[in-house]
């Protein structure tokens, strides 16, 4: 499938601000199932955009502005995605290179292991000892059930343990909680950022056949029609999306799990890349000087081209 993603971030300041420095982590990566055909980043006011890559091979664009009253960042990407493997696998507990996987096995500020996280994770210890894949599914499912999707209660600084206490959050909160839980169980997990096709379900229905033949997961989009518009029912559409990726050994590699939607990550998910938590892969971040109020608007359109 081919998608075009238009991601617009618009900062408006009440007064001019100075010494603005910004970074964008918006460029869809290339991997075994995805290739980025086009990536354009347009920043206005016009600036020279530079680029580097991080320890997790993420492409980061950055720029500075001496003064501005508003900054608009538009990324336009075209990505081809092949079907990602969704078949259920058996993954007994693995021995991994502790150095190569260090970042994916240890907690961070936002995924800190607390007594609350330990208690939450302990219910999966048994299953994790037997099979990492089943454990991951169980964690995803439990979090999906336990946490309500509500956007106004958490911020970008909310930790996994706070999400657990609050019982609600957005996709990044679901992801942080899942990361903290899996890492506590010794399962390597990373924070993936990207997009979810909002019209998922119209042409495709995701079916997951379990080995024993029963249908494990079936997503049929329950679009509702409001005033002539298709209102997507999936969470994390219309904005950047985040999910959790888990490593199942060299044979199966990394697979994605979306706890917010209780979905396996398939060809409707467009990957930007991965990091230890949100802070490693914040879509757009910036700092400035000057006491202005900041108004931020983000819109994301995912268009299925083929």
């Amino acid at each position: 499938m081919r998608f075009q993603i238009l991601h617009e971030t618009h900062y408006v300041y009440s007064d001019p601000v100075y010494a603005i420095a910004m970074e964008a982590r918006l460029q869809p990566c290339n991997d075994d199932y995805q290739s980025c055909q086009r990536y354009r980043l347009v920043v206005s006011p016009k600036v020279t955009v530079e680029e580097y890559s991080t320890f997790s091979d993420l492409r980061v664009q950055y720029w500075t502005l001496l003064k501005a009253s508003e900054v608009q960042i538009v990324s336009d990407s075209v990505v081809d995605i092949r079907e990602r493997p969704l078949l259920e696998i058996q993954v007994p507990s693995l021995e991994l290179d502790p150095i190569e996987f260090y970042a994916w096995l240890h907690d961070t500020t936002l995924t800190k292991v607390t007594p609350g996280i330990q208690a939450f994770a302990s219910q999966f210890e048994q299953i994790a000892a037997e099979d990492w894949y089943q454990a991951t599914l169980a964690v995803q499912h439990t979090i999906h059930e336990a946490i309500d999707f509500e956007s106004s209660h958490t911020t970008t600084d909310t930790t996994a343990s706070e999400v657990l206490e609050l019982g609600c959050g957005v996709c990044q909160d679901f992801t942080h909680l899942m990361l903290a839980t899996l890492r506590q169980l010794g399962i390597p997990a990373r924070y993936a950022s990207g997009y979810l096709n909002q019209y998922i379900g119209k042409p495709t229905t995701q079916k997951q056949i379990m080995l024993n033949g029963t249908v494990h997961q079936e997503t049929t989009s329950s679009e509702t029609f409001v005033e002539g518009m298709i209102v997507p029912s999936l969470r994390g559409t219309g904005a950047s999306h985040a999910w959790c990726e888990v490593f199942f050994g060299p044979q199966y590699g990394w697979r994605g799990f979306d706890a917010a939607n209780n979905l396996l990550v398939d060809q409707n998910f467009i990957r930007i890349g991965a990091g230890r938590d949100f802070r490693d892969i914040t879509p757009v971040k910036g700092v400035h000087k000057g006491p202005a109020e900041e108004d931020l608007k983000v819109t994301v359109k995912v268009i299925q081209l083929t």
């Binding site: 010494a19 420095a21 970074e23 530079e50 320890f55 500075t64 150095i99 260090y102 910036g286």
Partner: protein
């Protein structure tokens, strides 16, 4: 002679159980102190005290002060300066010099390795989580090649001497070691207040340090004839005097965060005639505050986007970000092995035996012997967050036992080293007080040291804490060339 001694300020000098720098075990002055001892024996406190006051006034007048904000109006205090110099024979200094060069070279190899191939971790010489799990490991620095491969351009290593007079490294300060201006000012003030002390002594000069520093800063640039600047947090920083002193002595601008502008992937400063590019930034601002975009976003003393300029190779930062991971108190234990690993040499300098809270066996030892150990927080400095077992109450020991049990990785312990003592002027005449030594090491085209360093002295009787924040003072440090070999 006897008559003089009876009235001398050494009359009540009683050695304490440790290595005495001036006297051997029989109370005879060591050969390199003979002349100084002779001079000081003949001086009375009536002659000494006014000079001490002049020296203090001199520090105040020069503004070598730090501010204590106890009331609304800050009170300015000087760091106490003791007029009796500490003397090191050249031969002894040479050994230290070689040992420190070896250590700094190896630590720089280590930093390069952990931010690139991580071979030493893969080979299991240093536990991976001690490095990768450290809050001072900067993931942002992974893969960045610092200009000329140098991370630790400026180091101030703390050395102590044990009961046998053996020099041991106590701490590697690889971030923004301070105090070098005191090394220089102590000498200047010593020369003006007590010129006679220098008679017949072949003291090596320290005055060229700023020139050596400038030479190094110019070398580590990637451009010819670079613009160098010193970055200070500002006039309220306790080391502001040092920052301005070094900038002035090198003739380079002293900039603050508000002077800096990042534009087009380059670093500039605001001048009266527009922006001027900076090629080398000797920053005296901690990593956390260096760049609000990359590190702490609430910092107002850095420059937003600076790390990206650095990554692009358009500015050299001195020291490089992320060096703190290598002066961690628990990593300290592995430095001898780090030296062996990269250099295939035996370490020339000794270390203090160190027990790690994170290690099960070590932790048991710490908990069982806490009242005989010094327990330190891994990421604290300035003499804070530590327990000196033999000087602590049972309650304090219990508190630290609990801390070590709860956060084992955050604590290390070392046996109490009775730091060497040096005659020091007190209200009761000259008395032994514990000292340490911080030489300053520069890493540019080669690794160099200025002969001398900062000798810090614990002015409180019996105290082993030399930090200025904990009642410490300092002394002039003399490396003396042997006359007969000249």
């Amino acid at each position: 002679m006897d008559v003089q001694l009876a009235t001398s300020m050494f009359t009540n000098y009683t050695q304490i159980p440790c290595y005495d720098e001036m006297f051997d075990i029989d109370g005879t002055p060591r050969p390199h102190y003979a002349r100084l001892f002779q001079f000081l024996s003949e001086i009375s406190s009536d002659q000494f005290e006014p000079r001490r006051q002049i020296a203090d006034m001199d520090f105040l007048r020069r503004g070598i002060t730090f501010t204590v904000y106890s009331s609304e109006e800050g009170v300015e205090k000087i760091f106490p300066f003791d007029l009796i110099p500490r003397i090191m024979p050249m031969a002894e200094w040479r050994l230290l010099e070689e040992g420190l060069k070896q250590r700094i070279y190896a630590l720089n190899c280590f930093l390069h390795d952990i931010y690139h191939d991580q071979k030493i971790l893969r080979d299991g010489v240093v536990p991976a989580d001690m490095v990768l799990g450290s809050s001072n490991f900067r993931w942002e620095m992974v893969g960045i090649e610092p200009p000329h491969g140098i991370y630790i351009h400026i180091t101030g290593t703390d050395l102590i001497r044990d009961a046998d007079g053996r020099y041991c490294v106590l701490e590697d300060n690889l971030r923004s070691p301070s105090g070098v201006s005191y090394m220089l000012q102590n000498r200047t003030i010593m020369k003006t207040t007590f010129p006679a002390l220098f008679d017949g002594q072949n003291v090596l000069p320290v005055e060229t340090y700023p020139q050596e520093l400038l030479k190094m800063l110019r070398f580590v640039s990637l451009v010819d004839n670079p613009q160098v600047a010193v970055l200070t947090p500002g006039i309220f920083n306790s080391a502001y005097f040092e920052h301005s002193f070094l900038a002035r002595s090198m003739g380079v601008p002293l900039v603050e965060g508000s002077d800096l502008v990042v534009r087009d992937n380059r670093l500039y400063m605001r001048t009266t005639h527009g922006l001027k590019q900076i090629n080398v930034l000797y920053r005296r601002v901690d990593d956390d505050f260096l760049d609000p975009l990359a590190f702490r976003s609430d910092s107002v003393i850095g420059a937003a986007g600076l790390l990206n300029v650095y990554r692009a190779g358009n500015v050299t930062l001195v020291n490089a970000p992320g060096t703190g991971v290598a002066d961690d108190k628990s990593l300290y234990k592995y430095v001898p092995n780090i030296i062996r690993y990269y250099l295939s040499e035996e370490p020339l300098l000794d270390s203090v035996p160190t027990y790690l809270g994170r290690d099960d066996e070590d932790r048991r030892f710490i908990l069982d012997n806490i009242s005989e150990l010094v327990v330190k927080e891994v990421n604290n400095s300035g003499g804070y967050g530590m327990l000196i077992g033999p000087h602590a109450t049972a309650k304090e020991c219990d508190l630290f036992r609990r801390k070590v049990s709860e956060q084992p990785w955050n604590y290390i312990a070392q046996p109490v080293i009775q730091l060497s003592a040096h005659p020091t002027y007190t209200s009761e005449g000259f008395a032994p007080r514990h000292i340490d030594l911080r030489p300053y090491i520069l890493y540019g085209s080669e690794i160099t040291l200025i002969p001398g360093g900062l000798t810090r002295v614990a002015l409180k009787k019996g105290s082993l804490v030399v930090n200025s924040s904990q009642g410490g003072g300092s002394k002039d440090t003399w490396v003396v060339a042997d006359d007969e070999h000249d």
